[in-house]
C-alpha cells in the first residue's frame, strides 16, 4: 500500500482494495428483507400516532365507530374546537416555563460544564457523577417538602414554581451534555488562544461558543421537550395556572364521546415538541446517556 512498492504489486493490490471497498459497501447496506422489517417495525411504532392524526380529522360519530374508519369526510371542526376554553392561557404558561427554565439552565450549565472539562476543578469526575445521581432519585420522594415550602412561599399554583423545579430537573442533564460537547473542543485551539494573550472570557466568547453552539442548541431543545411534557410537578403544585398537560387532563371527564376532540388537542400540543425532538434526535442519545457513548 506504500508508494515504494513495485508497479506489479500495485496492479495486484488495486483490484483487491476495490473488492474490499465493495464488500464494505455491501456490509453497510441492508438486504431487502431486513429493510422491509425495519420499515414495518418503524411504522408499527408510529401507528398509534398515525391513528391519532386520522381520528383528529373525523367527526365524533365517525371516531366512535366500533371498527376503524379509513374512508370518511375529513373535518377541521376538532381543531377549531381545540383552541377554546383557555387553551391559549395554558399554552402561554407552557411556553413561558419551557423557555425561561431552559434559558436559566443554559446560563448555569455552561460555566459549570466549563469547570468540569476545559479548566477542571479537583474531583471533577465525582462532581459529574453527583449531577447524574440526582436524576436517579425518585421525584415522588421529595414532593412533600417541595409542596410545603411552595405553600409557605405562596408559590402554589404559579408559573414560577414550575420554572424553578424544571430548572432543577434539567440542569444535571444540561451540565452533562454541554460538558461532553466542550470536551470535543481540541485543546490545541485553546492553547493557541492563550498564547495569543486572549483572556478566558474572550476565549470562551470567540472560540469555544461558536464551536459548541450546535450542541448548546440541541441541549436547549431537549430541555424544552422535557419541560413541555412534565406532568408530576404540574399536577401536584398547580391547578388553574398551569401548563398544557393539565389542560389535557380535564378531557378525562369527557369520556369516549370526545375521542376526536381529544385526538385533535393531543396532536396540537404534541406537534411543537415532536418537531423539536426530530431536530435534536442525533444529540439525544448523547444527552440521555450522559455523554458516555458518542
Amino acid at each position: 500500500m506504500t508508494t515504494t512498492t513495485a508497479p506489479a504489486e500495485i496492479e495486484d493490490a488495486a483490484p483487491l482494495t476495490e473488492k474490499a471497498r465493495k464488500r464494505r459497501r455491501d456490509n453497510d447496506t441492508a438486504h431487502w428483507p431486513i429493510a422491509l422489517v425495519g420499515w414495518l417495525g418503524s411504522l408499527l411504532l408510529f401507528s398509534p400516532i398515525a391513528y391519532m392524526l386520522l381520528k383528529s380529522f373525523q367527526t365524533e360519530t365517525d371516531a366512535a365507530s366500533p371498527s376503524p374508519k379509513l374512508v370518511f369526510t375529513p373535518t377541521l371542526d376538532n381543531y377549531r374546537g381545540a383552541f377554546g376554553s383557555g387553551f391559549w392561557a395554558y399554552a402561554g404558561n407552557s411556553l413561558a416555563v419551557a423557555v425561561v427554565s431552559t434559558l436559566v439552565v443554559l446560563l448555569l450549565a455552561l460555566p459549570a460544564a466549563y469547570a468540569l472539562s476545559v479548566r477542571p476543578v479537583r474531583k471533577s469526575q465525582d462532581t459529574l457523577f453527583f449531577f447524574i445521581s440526582t436524576k436517579m432519585m425518585p421525584i415522588a420522594a421529595g414532593i412533600i417538602p417541595i409542596y410545603i415550602v411552595a405553600q409557605r412561599l405562596n408559590l402554589l399554583n404559579t408559573v414560577l414554581v414550575l420554572i424553578i423545579l424544571h430548572i432543577g430537573m434539567n440542569l444535571p442533564l444540561a451540565v452533562w451534555m454541554i460538558r461532553s460537547f466542550l470536551q470535543e473542543v481540541p485543546p490545541g485551539v485553546l492553547e493557541a488562544a492563550g498564547l495569543d494573550g486572549a483572556s478566558r472570557l474572550r476565549t470562551m466568547r470567540s472560540i469555544i461558543l461558536p464551536l459548541v453552539s450546535p450542541g448548546l442548541w440541541s441541549t436547549a431543545l431537549l430541555c424544552c421537550v422535557f419541560s413541555w411534557n412534565e406532568y408530576f410537578y404540574a399536577v401536584n403544585l398547580t391547578t388553574t395556572t398551569s401548563t398544557l398537560p393539565l389542560f389535557m387532563q380535564k378531557f378525562l371527564s369527557f369520556g369516549e364521546l370526545y375521542t376526536a376532540q381529544v385526538a385533535a388537542v393531543a396532536t396540537v400540543v404534541s406537534i411543537p415538541v415532536v418537531i423539536l425532538g426530530w431536530i435534536c434526535q442525533r444529540s439525544l442519545v448523547r444527552g440521555l446517556l450522559f455523554g458516555a457513548v458518542k
Binding site: 456490509n27 453497510d28 447496506t29 441492508a30 431486513i34 429493510a35 425495519g38 420499515w39 417495525g41 418503524s42 411504522l43 408510529f46 398509534p48 391513528y51 391519532m52 365507530s65 366500533p66 376503524p68 448555569l108 450549565a109 459549570a112 469547570a115 477542571p120 476543578v121 453527583f130 445521581s133 440526582t134 436517579m136 432519585m137 425518585p138 421525584i139 415522588a140 421529595g142 412533600i144 415550602v149 424553578i164 423545579l165 432543577g168 451540565v175 411534557n229 406532568y231 408530576f232 399536577v235 398537560p245 389535557m248 378525562l252 369516549e256 375521542t259 404534541s270 415532536v274 423539536l276 425532538g277 426530530w278 434526535q281 439525544l284 442519545v285 440521555l288 458516555a292 457513548v293 458518542k294
Partner: protein
C-alpha cells in the same frame, strides 16, 4: 525559590478557587432543589402530620415507618412497581434491539423510518394516555377490541381486566424508541473488522449475532436496562389517567401510592416515610447504574 515556596499554597488556593467559581451556581442550585427536599423528607417522616387531623405536627418517632412496613398496600405497590417496571423494560428492550438491528444498515428511506420510530418518545405522555384511553383501550370503540375481534378472541375491558398489561403496553411503547437509539449507538461502535472476520470464518447470521454482536453489546444492553428501569419506575401520568391505580390498587406503583397518601389522604408523615423507603430502594438500583456508567467512562478514557 525560597520566597516562592511559602507563597505557593496561597497561589494554588487562589487558582483552585477561580476554577471552582463557575461551577458553584449550578452546584448550589442542584443541591438546593434536589437534596434539601430529601433531608426534609427524613424530618417529616419522623412526625405525626395529617392535614385532615389539624395542621399541628408532633414527633412520632419511628411510628410512620412501623405503619409503612405494616401496610399491605405499600408492599403491594412495591410488587406492582417491580412487575410494571420489569415488564415494560424487558418489552422495550426486546423490541428496541430488534429495531436497532434492522435500522442499523442503510436502506432507502432509513432516515424517515428512524424518525417515525423515535416519535413516540416525544409526544406528550398525558395527551397520548388520554387518546389511548378511549381510542385504543375502550372495550366498545377501541382499536384493541377491533383487533381481538379480527383474531376471533373475546372482547376485553383492557383497563379493568388487563390493567397491568395495558400500563406495560403504553409505557413500553413510549420507551422503545429510547432503547433503540441507545442500542443503535452501541451497534455503530462495533468495529467492522470483527464481523468481517467472523464472516470470513463462515459464521452464519445467528452465530455472528451470538458470538460477536451480543458480547460487544452487553454493556450497552445493561446500560439501556438500567436507564429504562430508572425512568419507568417513576411512571405516574399513565397510571393516573388510565387506571387511577386500580382496580383494587392493582396498578398502583410506589410513585402513585405516595401521591395518593400525600394528596388524597393528606397524610404527609406517612407519605414521607413511604418516600424515604422508595428512595432507599431506588438508590440500591441506582448504585450499580452509576458504577456501570463510570466503568464505561474509564474505558472511553483509555481508548
Amino acid at each position: 525559590m525560597t520566597i516562592a515556596v511559602p507563597a505557593r499554597p496561597a497561589l494554588r488556593r487562589r487558582e483552585a478557587r477561580s476554577r471552582r467559581l463557575p461551577l458553584l451556581p449550578a452546584l448550589i442550585i442542584t443541591l438546593l432543589l434536589t437534596q434539601i427536599p430529601f433531608v426534609l423528607t427524613v424530618w417529616y417522616s419522623l412526625r405525626n402530620w395529617n392535614l385532615l387531623a389539624g395542621d399541628d405536627s408532633t414527633f412520632a418517632g419511628v411510628a410512620n415507618f412501623r405503619a409503612t412496613f405494616a401496610d399491605g398496600t405499600f408492599w403491594k405497590s412495591i410488587g406492582n412497581t417491580v412487575v410494571l417496571t420489569g415488564g415494560a423494560t424487558v418489552a422495550a428492550m426486546l423490541v428496541g434491539l430488534a429495531l436497532a438491528l434492522t435500522l442499523q444498515k442503510k436502506f432507502p428511506g432509513r432516515g424517515i423510518a428512524r424518525t417515525l420510530a423515535i416519535t413516540p418518545f416525544f409526544v406528550m405522555p398525558v395527551a397520548v394516555a388520554l387518546f389511548w384511553r378511549s381510542a385504543v383501550f375502550d372495550p366498545s370503540f377501541g382499536l384493541l377490541g377491533w383487533l381481538t375481534d379480527l383474531a376471533g378472541l373475546p372482547r376485553v375491558n383492557w383497563l379493568s381486566e388487563q390493567s397491568t398489561l395495558s400500563i406495560v403496553m403504553i409505557t413500553s411503547w413510549r420507551w422503545t424508541p429510547f432503547a433503540m437509539l441507545v442500542l443503535l449507538a452501541g451497534l455503530q461502535a462495533l468495529p467492522d473488522e470483527q464481523l468481517e472476520a467472523a464472516r470470513v470464518d463462515g459464521a452464519n447470521w445467528w452465530q455472528q449475532f451470538r458470538r460477536v454482536m451480543l458480547p460487544h453489546l452487553r454493556p450497552f444492553l445493561e446500560l439501556t436496562a438500567l436507564l429504562l428501569s430508572m425512568n419507568i419506575i417513576q411512571t405516574f401520568g399513565e397510571i393516573a389517567l388510565l387506571t387511577a391505580g386500580g382496580p383494587a390498587y392493582g396498578t398502583t406503583n410506589i410513585t402513585y401510592y405516595i401521591y395518593l397518601r400525600a394528596f388524597n389522604s393528606f397524610d404527609f408523615g406517612t407519605a414521607s416515610a413511604y418516600g424515604l423507603v422508595a428512595l432507599v430502594l431506588t438508590i440500591a438500583l441506582a448504585l450499580p447504574a452509576l458504577r456501570l456508567l463510570s466503568g464505561i467512562f474509564q474505558q472511553e478514557g483509555r481508548r
